[in-house]
């Protein structure tokens, strides 16, 4: 008989819930079959940890005295430009942002040692970050310049908000040309010298629920070492991608937009990342629990294949 999420939550409260990893589930289904596994297992945990460029944080830095309207002006964190097109003291820092004076790929391949992703990692780690802002000044917000050290524990809010994470599947990158290329999938050697992929495979969240039957807006997840939530479908979410018989898409397909309170996250799971010749990004840790509501979902977490 099928279970409900309410019943699983009740088991969690009573401490009777059975939780296994996506890896363990494969053995369980292989041994006992999907039906028995769906009766015995309540939750399968999945996870991934990889570079995800559509990531960033917004913070409300609080009001200085006299006040400054950063909105419509300019704002930098550790010399990395932030988006300052919101209200007076709300700013967003995307993980791919680079200092204005970074040489980028002027001498190819660029080194990209420091950018938004690194600022986020340091901020989460509790390091002081230098905020520099310029504004035009108004009657109610007269200050035109601000230079101050900020710390995550002092800002009003710090929120990780990633418009596209957790790609369901992803292409493998190779290089058939005669020279080394520097890509967002790493350094690719010429003449098929290597093949790089980026998927957590059998542990990957959206591969374990290929038709998104158990997760959606509001699903509570592991995000950046703390608690987060699925906020929306991710940008470029494409549920209609071509699939194999077991539901696994042959290309990118589904994505998630995720959100969570940055103050309870950890630098261990939010890593500033450098892709030589390409840029800077953030490596994000995400874990999604799959409630095993019925036999079909148990079968999806198994997929009949060892990956």
């Amino acid at each position: 008989m099928a279970k409900t999420i309410k019943e699983i939550n009740e088991k969690i409260r009573k401490g009777e819930v059975v939780v296994v990893t996506a890896e363990e589930m494969i053995d369980i289904v292989e041994e006992k079959g999907a039906k028995k596994a769906s009766q015995e297992v309540d939750v399968v945990t999945t996870g991934t940890f990889g570079p995800m460029c559509s990531s960033g944080m917004y913070i409300n830095v609080g009001h200085a005295k006299p006040r400054i309207k950063i909105g419509g002006g300019k704002c930098y964190l550790n010399n990395v430009p932030t988006y300052a097109g919101w209200a007076a003291v709300d700013i967003y820092l995307g993980c791919t942002a680079l200092p204005d004076d970074d040489p980028r790929n002027a001498v190819h391949p660029g080194a990209f040692k420091y950018g938004g992703g690194h600022v986020i990692q340091e901020f989460v780690a509790g390091k002081d970050i230098l905020l520099e802002a310029e504004a035009y000044g108004t009657d109610c917000y007269p200050r035109k310049k601000l230079k101050v050290w900020i710390n995550i524990k002092d800002v009003n809010e710090a929120v990780l908000f990633n418009p596209r994470n957790c790609y369901q599947n992803y292409n493998i990158a190779v290089n058939l040309s005669e020279k080394t290329i520097y890509t967002y999938m790493g350094i690719l050697k010429p003449r098929l010298g290597n093949a790089n992929y980026c998927s957590a495979g059998q542990l990957s969240p959206l591969l374990n629920d290929p038709y998104y039957e158990t997760l959606g807006i509001g699903t509570k997840i592991f995000l950046g070492g703390g608690i987060g939530y699925v906020a929306w479908q991710g940008t470029q979410h494409n549920p209609t991608a071509k699939r194999k018989e077991n539901g696994v898409p042959c290309g990118g397909a589904g994505t998630l937009a995720v959100i969570g309170d940055l103050k309870q996250m950890s630098p261990e799971w939010l890593r500033g990342t450098t892709m030589t010749g390409y840029g800077v990004t953030l490596t994000v840790g995400i874990g999604v629990p799959i409630p095993i509501l019925d036999e079909e979902i148990a079968r999806y977490t198994y997929r009949g294949e060892r990956q």
């Binding site: 050697k189 010298g193 990342t273």
Partner: protein
């Protein structure tokens, strides 16, 4: 047979001295140059494998030292900062000597200093700045 992997630093005065020639001819050593950066009038750097009979190897190293060459083992200059490593394996296919390798069962990366030739190819390949080579 004994073997040593060394980083040799030459002062400008020695840049024109054929050091490897003497190591081969006078001390019967097998010399494999892994890396060389020799600029006349400036400092020279050489990363070499030296192989030979134990006493000859020691005498050869003594000869270098008496010449005024600064010698230190390569291992000291190469660091894998495991704390920064996420075991993403981006370095594995880039490393030419398999000094960086991945365990097939645990999928964890490890670094074998003995195999490293300090080519520095892993430096740009690592997204997390986990490799540090100071030569």
């Amino acid at each position: 047979m004994a073997k040593k992997r060394l980083v040799l630093t030459f002062p400008p005065s020695l840049v024109n001295t054929p050091v490897t020639y003497h190591l081969v001819k006078d001390y019967d050593l097998v010399v494999n140059i892994l890396r060389a950066r020799v600029t006349p009038e400036e400092e020279g750097k050489l990363v070499i494998d030296l192989e030979g009979e134990k006493d000859k190897l020691e005498k050869g190293v003594k000869y270098l030292s008496e010449l005024g060459v600064h010698i230190q083992p390569l291992a000291r200059d190469v660091t894998w900062n495991e704390e920064n490593c996420t075991h993403c394996t981006a370095c594995i296919t880039i490393c030419p000597t398999e000094a960086l390798s991945v365990d097939k069962d645990t999928r964890k990366v490890s670094f074998d200093k003995e195999k490293c030739i300090a080519c520095e190819l892993c430096i740009p390949a690592c997204p997390y700045q986990a490799m540090v080579i100071l030569i």
